[in-house]
Every structure is written in structure tokens, then in C-alpha cells.
Symmetry: C2
């Protein structure tokens, strides 16, 4: 059997907690024999949910679905740094402490992004030599999947941070997604070397000089959906804007397609005939299969699932943790960063 | 009759020059009795195109379609500053000089964005008190149209620049698009006041203090396609990324819908039935009707049309110039900036 892995899961975080979170955990445990999930949160709420799921005939493997009590919940209204420092008995803080103390190998939350980012840095800590921990998000493209890094952790990044993102992102795409020699593009407003803002202009030559990164130059945002680069490197402000715009525009455009189907009788019949094929094609653009955004460069894996996550996303995020652990991605990142620091130290 | 307006049009700029450019001019002149277009470029090429259009039975009003010779062409391969300084007989430089000398009221080009931006600043010049001239682009949304400002002119903007963009963008939306008291949103990665990068954090309170701007707070990129704000203020790097991503993702998603229609016989029949309604609905997302992006805050109007512009876009850009002139938008901007400077000067 594969290596065992224990994940601390924030059972109280997200719009659909605890029901969808606990359900996702139960599904993943049934699918992955090597997985144990520590459901962190209010015991009563979690127990009630497990009983409800049993009533819905979902098999509950109680030996690998453990409950860890945490009485408090951090909400999106809490200021992240304050919340992590003060709500010591919150599901986020209790779960992260489990990871820190070696009682879990990874942490997943669909709760407050801010609290997860702050907790990742303060409680779990960065790998030695990692200057900033970026949030990396997989997005569907016309020919597969690409990673946008950083998507929301560090808004005012420096050039050397972006170079580390490029390296960590490459290792993630290679080992977690099986992309050989991933193409790294620097998000820019033109493809020419002299284009860009101050940050991009400073980062470009640094990436160009790296022989261990398959840097293919600047990538314009227009090319992202075509999958021209496997790893798209940017500061968190731009990355977060792109990611959120993607969510919004996809919903609005597909909503328009739906609107056109319901317009009249003729279009309704057309829509009914087209539906199976349309569903099939658009399934490739379903982001829920990716589960969540890993925060790279920490001592242990932290995954931020989308606030609106349902069981399917949590299940996918747990699969992601198992891949991360079984492929030893953290070891690859640790080695790469250490090697860089040796070179710098010479 | 409405006030007369003369536009200097770069007949050589863009992927489809000169044919589509000249055709767009001929169309606009036929539609707008107050308009005269100076077609700037290689006389022979322009004359040949006009003859071709006559052969296609497009009425050519030669009294209001004047040719101004410019022997050189600035391409996208030319470095913008260098090109504007050295290619003194290029269509961009000759046309801009016409505007500068009062022989034309506005300038349109579908050619090199860099050259247009540089030429706008160097040859036409900024209004007194305007610190940076932003490129403002209209984008279609679920409930109409919004303006993203800045979309590509000034990549490393400062907070006071963004405040001027907010003011100029508001005036443009009000007078060019008829939006009363336009809602201004600051593009951000969260709606809370403490969110954002250094630039946004500095800009937020400045916008909040303005009683003459209908500032509605931060807007996340997710909400842009819903039309939550009429004016979206951002630095040119982020704005350009969003705009180009919009282009790319719309093409890819609608391509996927098309792919699903051609998948099999059933879906083809469905697609055929759905087509009229779908076309109708998606027409609201057609960007070609907007014509081009105005560069605001210059002494005269400069419009950057998309590089891939066809006659329809050039026609729309010329309509835009007429609106701009007849609504005296430049006067409103001049007054607003002057008033601000008086306040600052006090």
C-alpha cells in the first residue's frame, strides 16, 4: 500500500460547511486507503453531519475520519492576523497546530483565505530559504491545465520572489500534474523583452539566466486560456485579478448561452438537442476537479479550497494532498531552494 | 447641422490597412454629414483602395475624404519612442502633426499602440495639470458597458494618477455614454478597505474623500463582467492584463461552444436551431461596436483602435470622435482638472 497520509481538514470553513466539507472527506477516505482525515471543528456539528451522511447511505469509515474539537470559527469578517493570533481554539489554528506538531501531514481549508495565508506563514512556517509562499492555482485551458502563481498571497512581490515562484511552480506542475519540462511564462503586457512594469522588467533577465527553469519569455494574458504556458508567473495582485475575472466572465458568458437557449421554442428544442455535447465540452472547463490552490514553499502542504467548495472539491483537494505527499513534491522544492541558496552563498 | 469635425486617420496602421481603414472612413463619412476624414498615408495605396471601394459600389464622398501623403509606416517592430522621433514622415507622426497644428480635431490609429501613446504625449501633449494620459477601454458587460481605465498607457502609476483617471473616466462615461453619475470602482483583490497592494491602499482614501466622484469602493475582478461599476480604475499593467484575458477567454469559451455544436449530428441540428437566438444574445458582447480606446487627458482626442480592426470598428471609432467633439468632453475634462489644480494651489 502507498505511504499513509493524514490531513487536517477545517470542517467549519467555507460557505457550505460543515456538511459539504465532511461529505468530501468521507468520499475521499472511501476512495483512498492510505488517507486519514482529521475533521477539525465543533464536535457536535461534525457528529451530526456524519450521522446525516450515514442516513444518506454514504459509507462512513470512522477509523479514518477522526474528530478533533475546536470550539471557535474564523469567519471572513475577522481580520486575518488578529484572528489567527486570538482565536486559538479556532478550527484553522487547531488544525494548523496538528500539522506543525507532526500529527497531520497537510492542511485544507475552504474558509477565510487571509487566515489560511497568515496561519501558513506564522504557524506552519516557510521552508528555509523561501522568501515568500505563493498561492498557486490550477486553471483549465483549451489544451489542459496551467498554474497561475502567485494568485493571492503576496501583493507587492519582488523580482527574486517571482523567480522562486517560477521554480516552485515548475516542480509542482512536473510532479503533481505530470507535465514534463513545464513551460514558464512571465505574465506581461507584451512579448518584447523591454515591455512591462518595473517588477516584470527586473524579473525577466533573472528568469532568462536560469538554466533549470524552462523560461519561454513573456506571456500576454490573451494567451493564458490557450495554454501557451504551463506555469504563469505574476505578482499576487495581478494573478488574483485574472483568476477572479476568469470566474466572473465564464459565468456571465455561459449564462448568456443559457439565456439564448431559453429565448423561444425553437431555441429550447435546439438547446435540448445540443445539451449532452455542450455539457461534455464544457466539462473540460470545470474547475471543481482541481480541488484547491496549494500554498507552496511551506514546511508542510497547505491547500486553500474555494469558499464555495462542495464535497467534490474537498474530495479533489484531498486527492491533491495524497499526490503531493506520494510524489514528495515538498522534498523537490526543499532541495531546489537549498541548491539555489548554496549557489548564492558561494 | 452639427458642428463640423475633421479627423486625421492613420490609413496605414493595423493588420487590415489600408483597405479596412479606408473603407471604415468612407462608411462614416456617408453616415455623418459633419465629418471630414484626412486619410494619412501612402497616396498611391490610399487612391487604389478608394478606387477598389468604388468598384464595390461603396459611395465615396471625395470632398470629405482627403488624402494627406505620408511616405513612411511605423510597424509593431519599431521601438515606439525612436520611431516617433525618427520616422517624421510616417502616417502616425504626420497625422498627429495635423492635429497639433489645428488641421484636424482628433486622431485615430489601429497601428502600433506604443507609437500612438508616445506620439500622444510628445506631439499632441497633455492638458495642463494632467499628470498621465490613460488609455480607456469600453468593455461589454451583462448589463451594458463599463470603462476600464488605464488599459495600457502607464504601467507604474501612482495614487494621484489613479484619482485623475477616476475623474476623467467618470466624465467620459457620463458625456460619451450617457451614464448619469457613473459608479467608480477601484480594482482590488477584496472589497474591504484594508485589502490591496500598496498602490490601491494609497488610492482608496483619496477616492473616498472626493465628493465629485461617485466612488463605490473596491471592485473585485469577478464583478467586472456583471457591470457592478461603470468605471473601473486600475494601473495599466493590471488593466491591460484583464482586457487581453477577456479577449482570450471569450474566444476560447465560445470556441468550445462551437466545438460542441459540431460534435455530432444531433448537436449540429440543435446548433442550427439555436443559432439565431445565440447570435442575438452574444451580439451584446460584440466589442467592435465600441470602435477604440480613447487616450484621455490630451490636448486633443486620440483614439487607439484595435490592431485587428475592420471597417466596422474604424467606422465606430469615427462616430466616437464625433460624439466626443459634439459633447465637448475635452472641455469638461479640462475644467475638472483646472478646478482640481486650483484647489491644490490654494
Amino acid at each position: 500500500m502507498a505511504e499513509k497520509i493524514t490531513v487536517a481538514l477545517d470542517a467549519m470553513g467555507g460557505d457550505n460547511a460543515p456538511y459539504e466539507i465532511v461529505k468530501g472527506a468521507a468520499m475521499a477516505v472511501n476512495e483512498l486507503p492510505e488517507l486519514t482525515v482529521k475533521l477539525v471543528g465543533q464536535t457536535q456539528a461534525i457528529t451530526d453531519t456524519l450521522n446525516k451522511l450515514k442516513g444518506e447511505n454514504l459509507p462512513i469509515d470512522e477509523a479514518r475520519l477522526l474528530i478533533v474539537e475546536a470550539s471557535e470559527v474564523i469567519t471572513n469578517d475577522d481580520a486575518p492576523v488578529m484572528a489567527v493570533r486570538r482565536k486559538k481554539d479556532s478550527s484553522v489554528v487547531v488544525a494548523m497546530r496538528l500539522v506543525k506538531n507532526g500529527e497531520a501531514d497537510a492542511f485544507i481549508s475552504a474558509g477565510s483565505t487571509g487566515a489560511v495565508l497568515v496561519g501558513g506563514q506564522l504557524l506552519i512556517g516557510r521552508l528555509h530559504g523561501v522568501e515568500r509562499s505563493p498561492l498557486a492555482t490550477l486553471i483549465p485551458t483549451a489544451n489542459g491545465v496551467s498554474l497561475i502563481i502567485d494568485c493571492g498571497a503576496n501583493v507587492d512581490s519582488r523580482a527574486n520572489h517571482l523567480v522562486q515562484y517560477a521554480k516552485m511552480g515548475s516542480l509542482y506542475m512536473e510532479h503533481a500534474c505530470g507535465v514534463k519540462n513545464p513551460k514558464v511564462g512571465l505574465l506581461n503586457i507584451g512579448v518584447e523583452e523591454e515591455k512591462g512594469n518595473a517588477l516584470v522588467k527586473e524579473t525577466y533577465p533573472l528568469l532568462k539566466n536560469r538554466t533549470d527553469i524552462n523560461f519561454t519569455g513573456s506571456i500576454e494574458a490573451r494567451q493564458i486560456p490557450y495554454g501557451d504556458a504551463d506555469v504563469i508567473v505574476c505578482d499576487a495582485f495581478t494573478g488574483n485579478c485574472i483568476l477572479k475575472f476568469y470566474e466572473g466572465i465564464a459565468k456571465v458568458l455561459l449564462g448568456k448561452v443559457k439565456e439564448s437557449i431559453y429565448a423561444n421554442t425553437r431555441s429550447k428544442i435546439g438547446g435540448a438537442l445540443l445539451k449532452p455535447s455542450l455539457k461534455n465540452t464544457l466539462a473540460t472547463f470545470d474547475t471543481s476537479k482541481f480541488g484547491g490552490a496549494p500554498m507552496l514553499g511551506l514546511n508542510k502542504l497547505v491547500v486553500k479550497a474555494h469558499g464555495s467548495s462542495k464535497a467534490k472539491e474537498i474530495d479533489a483537494a484531498l486527492h491533491q494532498c495524497v499526490t503531493f505527499a506520494s510524489e514528495h513534491i515538498d522534498e523537490f522544492i526543499r532541495e531546489a531552494i537549498d541548491k539555489d541558496n548554496e549557489v548564492v552563498g558561494d
